[in-house]
Amino acid sequence: MAMFSQNPLMNGPNYSFNEAPRVNAPEGARQHRFDPYTDNGGSTLAIAGADFAIMAGDTRLTSGYSINSRYHPKVFKIGGTTADQKDATLVLSVVGFMADGEALKEKLDSICKMYRYRHGKAMSVEACARRLSIILYQKRFFPYYAYAILGGLDEQGKGAVYSYDPVGSYEREQCRAGGAAASLIMPFLDNQVNFKNQYEPGSGEGHALQERERRPLTRAEVEILVKDAFDGAVERHIEVGDGLQMMVVTATGIEEIYLPLKKD
């Protein structure tokens, strides 16, 4: 289904208006049909560290070539006791069709709140990740058209990032980019977080080449990486920009950071 593909080779550039339904009806027999989906652009990014996880998203909301809003958050705290989410331990980012994304966020949040009420403790990120997959798959035949990423700290206190497709396939990863500029950011992350295509200088040729050894990045390094990734995406994708919202999940709580991005 090309509609849910993030692959530019299938779709061309990932602009929302490329997703307009292609009508195969014979000439003259065209009927205007209600399309329940749109793409509101924007991009998200998550990186897990040794003892933290950073979730980030730009704050632009688009529809076609129009900017609907310059501040519309895509990153949310999940499962706090109250509406202000002061004691939340999980963060969810959604991108794609924002009405679906926000409906998904509210559903997951209420489930996490019920869990907390019944069990007297916050939901673990592993449990919440599986639950989110089930919520998405329950709408398998009328999906939430949203790419979700869930972040938190696992039971050992290590940063955890779980990424999803719109129908609930998920896996735990070190880092993941989602949304309009995912195809621009992800290769940068492969190189800078997982050190792909980086080799020890002078270690030889061909199979003798030694990969650069991976090490967990520090929080300061990751914050810079996130900003650089978005600055790059803003430069090359029209649906990304305006502001960068970052949530840093640590053992002491969730810190929120807002940085400006180019507004053009």
């Binding site: 205007h32 329940p36 009405a99």
Partner: protein, 270 residues
């Protein structure tokens, strides 16, 4: 003479054949709105220091026909908020009835305190409540493939009495901004409004007079360039003091006189 009264006034079966009742049967899938019929064009709104200004013209178009020229599209609800409707007019009328019922119910359920010095409707629905309600309503209608074909702006004050302006569309997509516009206004009026109020901080510097002036200027630009627009429009101002809607505004300083001086287009040769 057919003596069965149920057949009187109907086309005669012996002349026209038996009536084909299959047209009346609702067999097959349920049909829902698949396109808007009578439509309203742009709604524009701008926040200022202590409230929100909103405007929309009074035209309801039937395709390219200017069908109804006295249809106010800004409605006040719960005495605290103004809602501006773009898109299908019958869906607007449905929502108008629905929200009126809702605000009456709310007023009975949570009457404002007996203290008459508080603003009317205090403690009941505010603009943020109405916006969230509309978002849920429109999103659930789109989930049932029976959308309400509207783009809606909601203006008023939020629970902390700060100016509130937000939009919701037929798919339930909701967002806020210091200035908002639907339809053509998103392309023509939004850039003008953003020149004065790019951020909430800048909007908080605008006086009521300045905001009204900007909105009036935008309505003029829209009338010049939007073919489905009218020079008669409604203007609403919401503040802590309440809602003021004027439904018979007329564009000022507007003239097509410049048109005859334009040369060089179409079949004209000189």
């Amino acid at each position: 003479m057919d003596h069965r009264p149920q057949n009187w006034g109907r086309p005669r079966d012996d002349v026209y054949g038996a009536y084909d009742g299959s047209y009346l049967q609702s067999s097959g899938p349920k049909q829902a709105t698949q396109s808007p019929i009578v439509t309203g064009t742009s709604v524009i709104a701008l926040k200022f220091k202590d409230g929100v200004v909103m405007a929309a013209d009074n035209l309801a178009s039937y395709g390219s026909l200017a069908r109804f020229t006295d249809v106010p599209r800004l409605r006040s609800f719960a005495e605290t908020s103004v809602i501006g409707f773009g898109g299908d007019v019958s869906d607007m009328q449905y929502l108008n009835r629905h929200l009126t019922d809702l605000s009456i119910d709310e007023a009975y359920a949570a009457p404002s305190s007996t203290d008459t010095t508080t603003s009317p409707g205090a403690g009941t629905l505010n603009a943020a409540n109405l916006h969230k309600y509309l978002q849920k309503l429109l999103y659930s209608r789109r989930n049932n493939f029976d959308p309400l074909w509207n783009q809606i702006l909601v203006a008023g004050l939020d629970s902390s009495e700060a100016p509130f302006l937000a939009s919701v569309d037929m798919r339930g997509t909701a967002f806020t901004s210091p200035s908002l516009a639907t339809g053509f206004g998103a392309a023509l009026a939004q850039p003008i409004m953003r020149r004065y109020a790019e951020t909430d901080e800048q909007a908080a510097q605008l006086s009521r007079e300045e905001a009204v002036k900007i909105i009036k200027e935008c309505m003029k630009v829209l009338y010049y360039r939007d073919a489905r627009s009218l020079d008669k429009y409604s203007l609403a101002v919401v503040t802590k003091a309440g809602v003021e809607i004027s439904e018979d505004e007329q564009l000022e300083q507007q003239s097509w006189a410049f048109a005859e001086r334009i040369k060089g287009y179409g079949t004209q040769t000189v």
